[in-house]
Amino acid sequence: MDSTATSGAPGDDVELIRLLRIGDEAAFGSLVERLQPIMLRVARMYVSSRAVAEEVVQEAWLGVLQGIDRFEGRSSLRTWILRIVANIAKTRGQREGRSAPFASLAGDDLDAPSFDADRFLASGTWAGHWSTLPADWAGAPEARLTSSETLDAVRRAIDALPPMQAQVIRLRDVLGWTSEEVRNALDLTETNQRVLLHRARAKVRAALEHEMEIEASS
């Protein structure tokens, strides 16, 4: 194997790429475990059904295997893989006569405020400042933040987001990808990635706040 071909890839990637190139099934299997769920979610943004998304992901894996010898490591391996999925899914969606314009995937609430207007003073010297102070969660018991009810509420809040907002927060905050990886994988500008992330985090924060209030009053 020509190791220089992956000299730009992060350390973990170099070994994985080497194993994929020699046909190591366990290495492939570990990638499937890590990436299949997010691959299906990304594919599902562009195609009509879960079944079609599964076909797209299958085609993408074949593309990954057939292309791995030519992969140069200019992005991380997982970014490259997600990009292959997105490209195949977009093409498939177009063939299905589906159009998935950015605006519909991103949601129509990108300019919406993160807090209700009545949380701020409407007039006076201190207009635009808090009318009542937000709660300090640092005082909340750790158990409350990590309860299964709280995690379910966060999961529901993410599932309810417009698809591109949901993928961005999953990639960044659930899976720990960097902003550069997410931008490259989903073909987003730096600004778009940040705006989508902000809306997503703001809505999850609001869901958490609601959850904390319920638990505090029960």
Binding site: G23, E25, F28, G29, V32, E33, Q36, P37, E54, Q58, E59, W61, L62, G63, V64, L65, Q66, G67, R83, I84, N87, I88, P113, S114, F120, T125, W126, A127, G128, H129, W130, L133, P134, A135, D136, W137, A138, L145, T146, T150, L151, V154, R155, I158, I169, R170, D173, V174, L175, G176, S179, E190, R194, L197, H198, R201, A202, R205, L208, E209
Partner: protein, 94 residues
């Protein structure tokens, strides 16, 4: 807290640029304005902490598990490729 000047951020403005701040996407001047407000405002300090907690709690979620059917199907893709790498004649995916 001293009364705000026209140059200062309001709380309503600050909460919309929290992600710009934490992502390092602010000019030096905007960052200084942000930090000046934060230094004087307990409410916005609490909200910054709420955002950090939100990120932490979201980080406790795990992605879905791969179904056995999916795992099996992908293994088949792999084995077909390994046994005959050129099969299927798929185009360059990029």
């Amino acid at each position: 807290m001293t009364p705000p000047s026209d140059d200062d951020l309001t709380c309503r403005e600050l909460v919309e640029v929290i992600t710009d701040f934490v992502e390092g996407a602010m000019s030096d001047a905007d960052r200084a304005r942000f930090e000046r407000h934060l230094g004087e405002c307990a409410g916005c300090t609490a909200v910054m902490s709420q955002f950090r907690t939100t990120i932490e709690v979201t980080g406790r979620l795990t992605e879905d598990q791969v179904s056995e059917a999916q795992r099996h199907a992908m293994r088949e893709v792999f084995r077909r490729w390994r046994d005959d790498p050129a099969s299927n004649g798929a185009d360059d995916p990029i």
